[in-house]
């Protein structure tokens, strides 16, 4: 099966959201193949369907000062932070062709991240009670999804080298006692985003058993 990957660069949360919605519709109608959007977001805190504003620990004034946007969004999960230095992957996948197994899908996403980290000699694990990827109790990748008519959207946020102080503004995923970490922090060196991105896609191709095609022809913000 074919999967098309786009690197969008730095984009706003809202713009990426609308693009996902458009692609989801097209994927549902069979107009496009399985697609993955890779990108980085401007500093943004998002609150999922089961998220509580109480897990945003600062005032609007402080958010404005730091230039952090705040959105309520339609993915599952609680509160999370996105920002430059964090690799965001939004697979728009048709689960009708994958046995309609949501549990398996989440498991596979985690597997992709775990293998990618392993290739950097970082040993990461799952938490069976909560989607995401952890290294020694600290969260290195958040996973939050929305599945509409068996097409997936939202996805993974993997911390390569984001501003970790921004994570202190929230209780990540609703946990008041768990912290966030990143590849750069764990390795004590800066790892280029491109490198992480390519390895992630290689492992995605393995785990999901797809043939990857990189494409550059997509515009964020242009809609029918």
């Amino acid at each position: 099966m074919l999967c098309v990957v786009y690197w969008l660069g730095l984009v706003g949360y809202k713009e990426a959201y609308h693009l996902q919605r458009k692609l989801l519709r097209q994927r549902f109608d069979g107009e496009i193949k399985d697609t993955i959007l890779l990108l980085e977001h401007l500093p943004t805190i998002t609150i999922g369907k089961s998220g509580k504003l109480e897990n945003v620990l600062v005032s609007q004034a402080q958010l404005a000062e730091e230039g952090i946007s705040l959105f309520f969004t339609d993915r599952g999960g609680d509160v999370t932070y996105h920002g430059p230095g964090q690799l965001v992957a939004y697979p728009i996948i048709d689960l009708r062709q994958r046995g309609r197994d949501i549990h398996q899908y989440v498991h596979d996403l985690e597997e992709v991240v775990i293998r990618t980290l392993s290739s950097f000699s970082i040993g990461a694990d799952r938490d069976d009670s909560h989607a995401g990827v952890w290294v020694k109790g600290e969260e290195i990748a958040a996973i939050g999804l929305s599945i509409k008519r068996w097409i997936t959207m939202h996805g993974i946020a993997l911390n390569v080298n984001p501003k970790l102080e921004h994570f202190s503004f929230i209780n990540p995923c609703g946990f008041s006692n768990r912290r966030a970490t990143s590849i750069s922090k764990l390795l004590s060196q800066n790892v280029p985003m491109e490198e992480v991105m390519h390895r992630l896609i290689v492992h995605f191709s393995d785990v999901f058993n797809v043939h990857i095609e990189w494409d550059s022809g997509i515009l964020v913000g242009s809609c029918p």
């Binding site: 609308h18 109480e54 609007q60 952090i68 946007s69 959105f71 913000g221 029918p224």
Partner: protein, 403 residues
């Protein structure tokens, strides 16, 4: 001691109300005096204000009905009290209305401080999510800086028209999705039920308004003496009340297997509002002078526009008049829908000059259209025409009202 949020008795006939919307979530901090719950009874939406500040504990959910006197929510003074309340098994508390008024004075000692966190009402949150509104940029104008629906609406209105791919349903793009709630829902159900349950026929025609216009001019000239500005609606109410007295079958209701002919003649006058429409009622219109009718109509219309009508103002009607001409003059007819459980409704159109034939000559007269919808289960065509003929007679020759 938690403060009560109770269903008040808003009118003589009020026995229950529907909870339309909680303006705060379970556990949220609410400020004394802020609107905490919207209820709806007899098509009136009523705001209930919090009688004390504290943490909200909801006992009855939105979209349910509750009888007058039922305690539908509690306001806990402290978080600990809130937790205690949440753990208690669900219970039904009733108060005799009026009891719940007296609330204990402010808590002695330190009052629980509202958190520094961002706060938002559930409706505002839902809408913000739908439209992907950046909350950092929103100024909250609710109590304590809370973000409320109005703030989100303002942001939506001022945001640039960024192209947004719309939701598509059955091949059509959605511009907006509005939940059917409150007044809109009541109107929808009422109108549909009226048509489904009765046999509505509409008879339409024209009325020569020459004499009536002269009469009204005369009345307007004497406004300071009369004490009020008489409108055509006032005159319609006055005259229809007289004719209903002569033809009582038109002032009745079919209830079960019985036609109840009403002693009281209570005429409703439809008022168009932004959110829909409402029909305040002039009670005992047959016993009122034109001046009294005029004052009643003016007061009720004002109250309707300000959202201050009470259930007693909109219940007990036996006949309704609706002014179709208010939306713009013109030669227009309409099959108005009967306001249940009445058996007829009179719709009056705009007044416009038309060419008519009088004594073999074509002349110009001010003509008003009318549409009378009646329930054929109770009223046959002959009676409807007799009723209308008499109304037209009095309108075209107002002097006949004198005897």
């Amino acid at each position: 001691m938690a403060a009560y949020i109770t269903i008040p008795k808003l009118g003589q006939v009020t026995t229950e109300a529907t909870l339309v919307e909680w303006k705060a979530k379970e556990g949220d901090w609410v400020e004394k005096g802020s609107v905490v719950l919207k209820i709806e009874t007899e098509k009136i939406e009523w705001d209930i204000e919090a009688e004390a500040s504290g943490f909200l504990h909801i006992l009855v959910e939105e979209d349910s009905k509750a009888p007058v006197g039922r305690v539908v929510g509690l306001i806990a003074e402290t978080k600990e009290e809130l937790e205690t309340l949440k753990k208690e098994p669900p219970r039904q508390i009733f108060t005799t209305v009026g009891e719940a008024e007296k609330m204990p004075a402010e808590v002695s000692g330190a009052e629980p401080k509202p958190r520094e966190h961002i706060r938002i009402s559930p409706v505002a949150r839902k809408t913000a999510e739908e439209h992907m509104i950046d909350i950092t940029k929103i100024v909250g104008t609710g109590p304590g800086g809370r973000i409320v629906m109005e703030d989100i609406e303002k942001a939506l209105a001022t945001k640039e028209k960024a192209e947004v791919p719309s939701e598509v349903y059955q091949g059509k793009r959605v511009k907006a999705s509005i939940p059917l709630k409150g007044m809109r829902r009541v109107i929808a159900e009422h109108m549909h039920r009226s048509l489904a349950e009765s046999a509505q026929v509409t008879t339409m025609g024209e009325i020569d308004m020459t004499e009536l216009i002269n009469l009204r001019k005369g009345l307007l000239a004497r406004e300071d003496v009369i004490g009020t500005r008489i409108t055509y609606t006032d005159i319609f109410v006055f005259i229809v009340a007289k004719v209903l007295k002569e033809k009582p079958m038109v002032n009745s209701s079919l209830l079960g297997n019985e036609i109840k002919i009403w002693e009281d003649i209570n005429i409703g006058v439809a008022v168009a509002l932004e959110e829909g429409l409402i029909v305040p009622v002039i009670k005992n219109a047959d016993q009122k002078s034109i001046v009294e009718i005029s004052k009643s109509v003016r007061t009720l219309t004002e109250k309707a526009r300000k959202g201050k009508l009470l259930p007693d103002d909109v219940t007990g009607g036996t006949f309704t008049i609706t002014n179709l001409g208010a939306a713009g003059a013109g030669w227009r007819f309409e099959t108005a829908i009967i306001n249940q459980p009445e058996v007829a409704i009179l719709g009056t159109g705009g007044i416009a000059d038309r060419a008519v034939v009088r004594d073999g000559q074509i002349v110009i007269r001010p003509i008003m259209t009318y549409s009378l919808t009646y329930d054929h289960r109770v009223i046959d065509g002959a009676l409807a025409v007799q009723f209308m003929t008499r109304v037209i007679e009095l309108l075209e020759t107002p002097g006949l009202v004198l005897p």
